[in-house]
Amino acid sequence: MVQEMGSDDPGRSTRGEGAEGSEGSVNSQLLQLMARHAQLTDRLHAHHLIGGYDIIETRQGKGVCVSVATSYEGVYLERYSLEMVMAPAVKIVRHDVPVFVPLARLAEKDGALQHHLTGFLGELGRLLDGYAGRRQQLRLLKHVSVTVIESNAPCSLLVLTLTAPRTPPLGDVAVLCKLHYSDHTRCLPEEVTVESEGRTVALHRISLLLKSFIDGNIILLTMKSIGKCLAQRQYIEVAF
């Protein structure tokens, strides 16, 4: 720690007086400010990391800009921003939210934008998270040779193909999977249809067991095992 000035000068028993004393106190004050600066930097960064809205004032205080964070399994993904003016009523003037997100509907639901801004942003966050998560899953699938044939903009209707191996001497079989996510806040599909060699199985409301597997890479393994069963003309137990 920093030593106090003036303590080894016998002619001056009180501190804080004269050039040396004030310099010492200036330095220790500066130290304190630096410590506070470091502490504030850490706290502001923490707010950002826990998904804070990074609010800044715009238009000479008449507007604000917030950004909504998204992530999937701990991986930070895009942030989406909105600029709003606060008076006479709260109105969104600019944003980079994807066009398929029903911003107007969310804003008007129970007057959320006007009376409960954090509620509105929370709901928006959940929708954006769902989208970012599904898109991230698609990115991960590409690494394990699953081909995405079709995907709509919100990644809520997907058609994938993959090759499922079978026990020799049977060769590999092509499997077609259709995934439908009806709840756009979720990264798990509600409906999965699997087709192979003319046979189709529709799985409605994926069973709890499958649910815990439908995730990034694992969706591939699940689909492969279902495809394999289909190809071998086995019946699949589907639990609702």
Binding site: M1, V2, Q3, M5, E20, E23, V26, N27, Q29, L30, L31, L33, M34, A35, R36, H37, A38, Q39, L40, T41, D42, R43, L44, A46, H47, L49, I50, G51, G52, Y53, D54, I55, E57, V66, A69, T70, S71, E73, G74, V75, Y76, T118, G119, G122, G125, R126, D129, T185, R186
Partner: protein
């Protein structure tokens, strides 16, 4: 005069070294694995160092530093208010640092409205940012949020946890405020047998105190973090009391409450039932 100058120079040099050591401790407390810590300073912090080593006037630096710290304090207040999260402590430790990645450990403590939390997570910064470990301790007896919290910990869902925590605490606050409001307004009919921070508010007509209707208001949290308040009105009275209720108010109450809820909302529906009981 010369001796005093030399002493001043010596003290300043000592202070400067002590300051450097303290800064190292503040920025990365436990990096015993590294021989030396390089701390890059920019802006006001750099000015401050320059000032302390005599290369810039202290007063000027002080003024600018104070202004920047004030700005940051205001910013922190804005973030705190907007995010609904108040941080009481925040420490950062660098666990690992090389050319490809930096791994830091964050320990946060604070509260969301009145709900206290302690969160520790590891942040890995390589090509992008990833949370690689998450531990959460919540200061609440309400078990509704615990299965979601465990799942969030497993999947390192830091952002999603805080988003749900916000909705959850707002819901609890709503409930507390509403219960308090009705207890104050209708003290003869309304009572809170388990206190303000509970799921239950009981209603009974003043002339038949053993005839009780209980309002159960719970905050359910789905696995995906959706917070859904569920409110039911349940009778809690012996059968014979119901027979005494000739107007049929008590018997029909749960159903009429349910329909009022969807039409009028919570407060108006509760007010309605309470007024019916007061007559």
């Amino acid at each position: 005069m010369l001796r005093r100058d030399m002493e001043t120079a010596r003290r300043l040099e000592f202070q400067s070294k002590a300051l450097q050591a303290e800064i190292d401790t503040l920025r990365s407390p436990h990096t015993e694995t590294e021989g030396s810590v390089a701390v890059k300073f920019k802006g006001r912090m750099k000015d401050a160092l320059l000032s302390l080593s005599g290369k810039q006037t202290a007063e000027e630096t002080m003024r600018k530093m104070r202004a920047e710290v004030e700005e940051m304090e205001e910013d922190l207040e804005r973030q705190t208010e907007m995010n609904g999260i108040s941080l009481t402590s925040c420490t950062v430790k660098t666990l690992h640092k090389d050319d490809t990645q930096v791994v830091q450990q964050y320990s946060l403590a604070g509260s969301c409205l009145d709900l206290g939390f302690q969160v520790e997570f590891q942040l890995s910064e390589a090509q992008g940012k990833t949370i690689t470990k998450l531990d959460i301790v919540l200061d609440t007896d309400d078990m509704q949020i615990s299965s979601f919290t465990s799942r969030a910990e497993e999947r390192c869902e830091l952002i999603q946890f805080f988003r749900t925590l916000r909705s959850f605490s707002e819901g609890l606050e709503d409930r507390r405020r509403t219960f308090h409001h009705f207890q104050e307004k209708y003290p003869t009919v309304v009572s809170l047998p388990e206190g303000l921070v509970s799921e239950v508010m009981t209603l009974s007509p003043p002339e038949l105190p053993s005839c009780v209707l209980a309002v159960h208001w719970s905050m359910t949290v789905s696995k995906e973090g959706e917070v859904i308040p569920q409110i039911h009105l349940l009778p809690r009275a012996p059968k014979k009391e119901f027979l005494m209720d000739s107007a049929g108010t008590l018997e029909g109450a749960p159903e009429s409450f349910h329909s009022l809820l969807s039409v009028l909302g919570i407060e108006a529906a509760l007010e309605n039932i309470i007024l019916a009981l007061s007559r």
